[in-house]
Symmetry: none
Subunit: 222 residues, 4 copies
């Protein structure tokens, strides 16, 4: 069910040689297993053994395609990074009028979809980096660069605002909101209507850029 992107690249060892059909299939199984296990258990708790079992292959085989757990999450993450980059580019001009808001709303729809698939990987990735170095970098950079890219678009529509700062804030909001949604926080004991949530986010975002925040209720807590 959970699946890596079709053309996700393999890890370091896999890139050093030509893969045949069978090899490609195995690598794919491992990538998919990686998504599944990392999503379910997070980076740290995920054992190579879990991944290998999920992929119905052996321990040794894993290291034929990835040099270690990090290598796998990186392969997975770099794919997500690409998707995110594409997503940022796909945001059209955001104008102060209702068309601008609709543009934002449509974009959020796409973001939501991508995030639902990749959110867990981003989480695992961030954790991986946090565990290694003093503080996470790439995972943060991803959203950061994403925000910058987004900021440029916004700047075109609301030049007098500090686009960079606002964009970061808004991306933070959007990302976390989705994170909460995925981690079940919003769904515990309450029905959340995805469309309504996105409406609210679009409204809040648009309003924070151009004023006018009169929205209808979206989520009913408790």
């Amino acid at each position: 069910m959970a699946q890596a992107n079709e053309d996700t690249q393999g890890g370091t060892p896999a890139r050093d040689r030509e893969l045949r059909a069978r090899g490609k299939r195995t690598m794919r199984k491992l990538l998919d297993a990686g998504v599944e296990v990392f999503s379910k258990k997070g980076f740290h708790a995920a054992r190579v053994d879990d991944i290998v079992k999920a992929a119905r292959t052996s321990h040794g085989t894993f290291y034929l395609y990835f040099s270690n757990k990090d290598d796998l999450i990186e392969a997975l993450a770099s794919d997500v990074a690409e998707q995110m980059a594409g997503l940022a580019d796909s945001l059209g001009e955001v104008t102060p009028d209702d068309a601008g808001r609709r543009e934002l709303r449509a974009w959020l729809d796409r973001f939501s979809e991508v995030y639902e698939r990749s959110g867990p990987i981003i989480g695992a990735w961030t954790a991986a980096e946090t565990e290694k170095s003093d503080l996470g970098r790439i995972g943060t950079d991803l959203l950061g660069g994403f925000a910058v890219s987004l900021g440029r678009r916004i700047a075109a529509g609301a030049p007098e605002l500090d686009a960079a700062a606002a964009a970061i804030a808004l991306v933070a909001m959007i990302e976390r909101y989705h994170y909460y949604a995925i981690s079940g926080m919003l769904g515990a004991g309450q029905k959340v209507d995805r469309g309504a949530v996105l409406d609210t986010l679009a409204a809040v975002t648009h309003a924070s850029l151009f004023g006018e925040a009169r929205t209808r209720p979206a989520v009913h807590a408790r």
Copy 2:
């Protein structure tokens, strides 16, 4: 330097007996060491050995006060939780007018201060939970409950808006923004003026609630 709150409670073993002066001092050293080490290395990378060394005490002693690593981070975290609760309560009514914005701004100042001290602990705590169970709960709950509490205040000022949803979104924004700030993402290569950042956050937040988002630039990228 980094220090736990004065009246932070100890772990399970410590609560089962009466602590004398010396015992209290030792526990305090361990709590402080916990803040220091968890902040610097995160939960997973933090070794009991690191903590014990930072506290200039021994392994055996550690387990005299805390039943395990989790117990320590929980002691630390529950303290943070209390502070956060207090913080949420301290937000006065947020009105659509400029007074409301100033209220928000002042509150952000307090939040910022608390977060700077406790952010790393929240991060470590979240990680601890993510590593154990399937997905983090308490760390998220903390901010979630925090948002709810905040939402109620906001509701008083902007009843027609879905306060719960908006509050969560805004808390998400505020929290992440601070997280980025702490993790150095915002500071790499650019001077960030804390006051200006808070101005922007206050403006964006207020605007998203009541419209009117005409703010002056706060952060100058590059």
Copy 3:
């Protein structure tokens, strides 16, 4: 460049069937690769993978010709053993006079040449045995038997001396000296003249057998 002897035998599996031209070529590539890799990395550090890569063939193919890594080093070593046997036979009578010394000197020249080619293999072989059983045998036996054979020759020239004991001692000396030379110990920071070294060895050996050790300096340290 480093190459196995022309008519080195293959491993067990290769001897069980008739090799065609192509097969012979492949086996040869593997033998040469073996010499190259074992020489460079020693037995233990040499991976089957290294050998296979050096021979530009595959893992599966390797086991078509040799039943395992040991089998390969043994094939290589038994070849060396033969050469050594021939070498021992080639030593003429060593008389107390100058002709005896010249005979020794000429023989050392041949030894030197063979050792330069095969020394690394002997080393790898010895290591292989040391790693397996409690203590090396064949590698030692080789030089031991070699010494015995040499001893007999010497005995003819100096019957009153304990030929066996002396021969072993002298072979030990000669072998180690060459080993040191190969392993670079003698060459670090000083130019070593091979001819001069052999002169010294011949002189010392001859003198230890028949007295008269007045030699001119051979190596100038520093």
Copy 4:
């Protein structure tokens, strides 16, 4: 039975802290176990597990005193190196007369004793280095430096000979002879009289330096 020198130093981790009586005892058990296991199986074949079992302690404890297998062999070897250095210093002047030969003979006695105890460690040590880098160094250096030191002594007695070259050759001879003796090669099926062997070595060595190699048989093969 096989035992490390009384004041052998511990490994890296052990040197970073103060050891109490119990700790010292444990470290000693590990050092002794190291000698025993390395001697019996050689460096590569020796498992940390074997050592730990021989020392009747646990896996974790091992790493409390040595950072790894290498660390242990190094601790053991550096001790040997010291003994060897002392040995080299202990050689008095070697004169052409019979007193010189007796001096040599007495020294060989001491060498023999030390080698019997430490030979296996030197072997393991050399193997350790051969396995790691391209070619062994320290193990070789040890004997090399040893030879140099010895060479100086000899130089005093036979100035016209190339002392450095000759010393290396002689040390090579002496060392290997002992190595063969230990590895059982000389003892298989024949009674070797240690005293007689040392007599021969002394005679051969002395003769090679000053002529006069008229010795009585030392070893009777078969």
